[in-house]
Point group: C3
Chain length 351, copies 3
Amino acid sequence: MNDGFLRNAWYVIAWDHEIPADGLFARTVLGEPVLVYRTADGGLTALADRCCHRLAPLSAGRKEGDAVRCGYHGLKYGPDGRCIEVPGQDRVPPRARVRRYPLALKNRWVFVWMGDPERADPALLPDNFSCDHADWCYLPGYMHYQVPWLLIADNLLDFSHLSYVHDKTFGGTPEIARAQPLITEIERGLRIAREVRNVPPSPYYQSFRPFDTPINRWIVYDFVLPATLLMHSGGRPAADADDDLRRAVQLHSCQALTPETATSTHYFFQESHRADQGDAQTRQRIFDSLLTAFEEDRQMITAQARNLALDPAAPMLPLAMDAALVRFRRLLQQQLQAEAAAGAAGAAGAA
Amino acid sequence: MNDGFLRNAWYVIAWDHEIPADGLFARTVLGEPVLVYRTADGGLTALADRCCHRLAPLSAGRKEGDAVRCGYHGLKYGPDGRCIEVPGQDRVPPRARVRRYPLALKNRWVFVWMGDPERADPALLPDNFSCDHADWCYLPGYMHYQVPWLLIADNLLDFSHLSYVHDKTFGGTPEIARAQPLITEIERGLRIAREVRNVPPSPYYQSFRPFDTPINRWIVYDFVLPATLLMHSGGRPAADADDDLRRAVQLHSCQALTPETATSTHYFFQESHRADQGDAQTRQRIFDSLLTAFEEDRQMITAQARNLALDPAAPMLPLAMDAALVRFRRLLQQQLQAEAAAGAAGAAGAA
Amino acid sequence: MNDGFLRNAWYVIAWDHEIPADGLFARTVLGEPVLVYRTADGGLTALADRCCHRLAPLSAGRKEGDAVRCGYHGLKYGPDGRCIEVPGQDRVPPRARVRRYPLALKNRWVFVWMGDPERADPALLPDNFSCDHADWCYLPGYMHYQVPWLLIADNLLDFSHLSYVHDKTFGGTPEIARAQPLITEIERGLRIAREVRNVPPSPYYQSFRPFDTPINRWIVYDFVLPATLLMHSGGRPAADADDDLRRAVQLHSCQALTPETATSTHYFFQESHRADQGDAQTRQRIFDSLLTAFEEDRQMITAQARNLALDPAAPMLPLAMDAALVRFRRLLQQQLQAEAAAGAAGAAGAA
């Protein structure tokens, strides 16, 4: 499909804790309704949330052991998506099945693979280690956006916006916008590194520990296809040596965008502090800061999307600060073309 | 028009009591705004609710005797739809008129004929006798759906959904889904009969009279074009003879779907009990049960419609339980084609 | 563009008092987001409210002296629309600029010119004198309509609707609809004059001064392109001579329509009384009457627009009372064609 969605990719569909112990969970991903539930063996299964009969969402039905029964006319499906019972008829037609999606649980994120199941490769899962690591603490976040996912990816690929969107929250200072990031290509993505030296510690940083001198800050993140951000950031007194982290604040953040439809997006996020650098209050304070700042992003990006809707053909002027997002969009286009070519080859092979 | 609406048909536009004694009532039917009001002779008239001048709804104006005056610029129309006064000019142009729709009141349902007035035949009105019959009691219901009418007709044509959508309300048990209905063709529709024997009496049935044994249940309904359901149902102790109704619960239900637009529908309904089998409380209890159960339907069908909107091309897998709805859709197509052919013939005849 | 919007025209974008002393004001005009703010020299500037970089609205940023800084990535623009700073790069690309719109402040109305800046001619500003005149008093009004602007212009071009829409408020009597207006062509518009003699004074007129006899009323207004109404109206005892205004009520009203999008409209309005014919209470009473009556219009026109949306091809029957609106629509078409021809000529000249 040429809808700008990469299909052979893992997408976060939920935080692990969002899937109930004994119920049904539904979320739309790339325009497809997906059902997720737990099986008795401790596993998870993801099925198309759309009965093959009359297209009712299975999530409006009920779980029966490891099976799910449609709440409309009672078709019952096993966790592999095969229909195993059709009320009122003895024989279940072989075509009676719903698509099963490959699914992976990694560090509390539940990922679904939206493309060719043969190609679902756990090695492609992003390294969201701080989501489940004894050394790191966080509160899990979720936000819904009524904008196309690429506009949010743009935002995350250019942190110069911190200086303006978040000048009152995240410690955004003009220095961040001025600091040229170092951008390097990595496997399926980009690494973007930024350092600002000798800046006043923002209230955000002060909230971790009192700094009484200017600080050096670093922000280093990988942004990997389709849309996961994995970031180390922190600050230390400007006088301290670069390898001296004793008085440093260290953070790690995992953020993932999952297109819901062409015009709406799921956003999963956390920012972790070191377990030895804070307590439950710190955790809550970081979470609240994220919410405040990400709401600032949401308002700006939603306003941008409204302007785009008024004139979808309005041109954008590329600037130096767009380096990462331009390169990322190029990577995405390459992958989309590779996928289209593979699809065409597959279709030819099947013929 | 090829919008999937049968035009040469009676559609319920309102319950009789919805039309005020001396005011204007408006409802949109098949995408056309329709005005209904009472005339001094005790009759009812239905006009296009759209002034021929600047298209303002006449229902925003006022009734003047048997005439209606547009509230925008004051054009006055007689109950035949002819304009009889244009403020500021002496002569009323002959083209100044709005369409008058044939209208029929039968057993408290107000029907409007949306097609060729010449073909409006009272013999085609459905037999909604229990809506106005001394032996039967009910409370009138109306519900608005934000889905295409055919999805609701599908629902009504396959009662196997009772076992799942209404398993907690209407006495839906798996036995109903398992019971193959007997489907026979009738004039402009289908008769669908279902019997389930020796099932536990549901709370719904228990609410009419205490059953202390399993019961036999029957559900027999006609579904006639365009979209009226007329149903006898009931239950009696399983031990009683089939023709022994002394300990039976007997119900009759009339339900009608009227497309409002391509994507929204009016739903008129009642379920009657025998006058000698209950009182005002019974009536209220039945009505409340209907509301609860029909709200279950509405939620399921609306969820189904959302899935359809996500992927309008998604295929549906036909199953045995679809027998009636498949046959009904075939009847509808035949009528639509007959109407199109008659329209083409009429156009040719006029040329 | 062929969207039915005249571009070489002044449009009211705001009342003067709506623009903050030191902040940013945004409103969409002809589908284009426009930013307005004050400069240190006491002037006003209007810029495209859409950063040239990623299209974020500049109004979501901040004012810095006479400049505005985008709140997303910090581009800074002077009041001429030229970008004067791009964070993170030394050189500002020459293409980095946003459109500046010609702007004029006249009698408390802020006008923006949406077409070719070369042709922005202050002589084309309407004469809204009573908006800022020692002899006239009013309260300023604004209303938002969810309908295309031409439907509201239609309303203002045919006051026969006063007799029906405003029969309980504005002193609308059938006599107004019956009174044929005298329509004459003026520069870029029409003059529409109506007189009704010997009618009972309406409560509205009675609220200015007690009349104990029938009155003669006059309503004379210019409606000039694109959509400004300038109206003298009043009434005096029927027995008084036409040039005797001693016992007359005199009003002047300025009203302007500004298309927001193809389907929504801004409406600016006031009705002034003579400074020597009332006090603050009078002012408030007139304003409240306007709000009540214009809300009647809004409901009617919005209902009309709904009917149009149900069937955009439904024909309208022209009547005598449409004389002014038919002529006005013709004037508009001529101007639109002239604009299209000039655009084509300009394009040819540029080639």
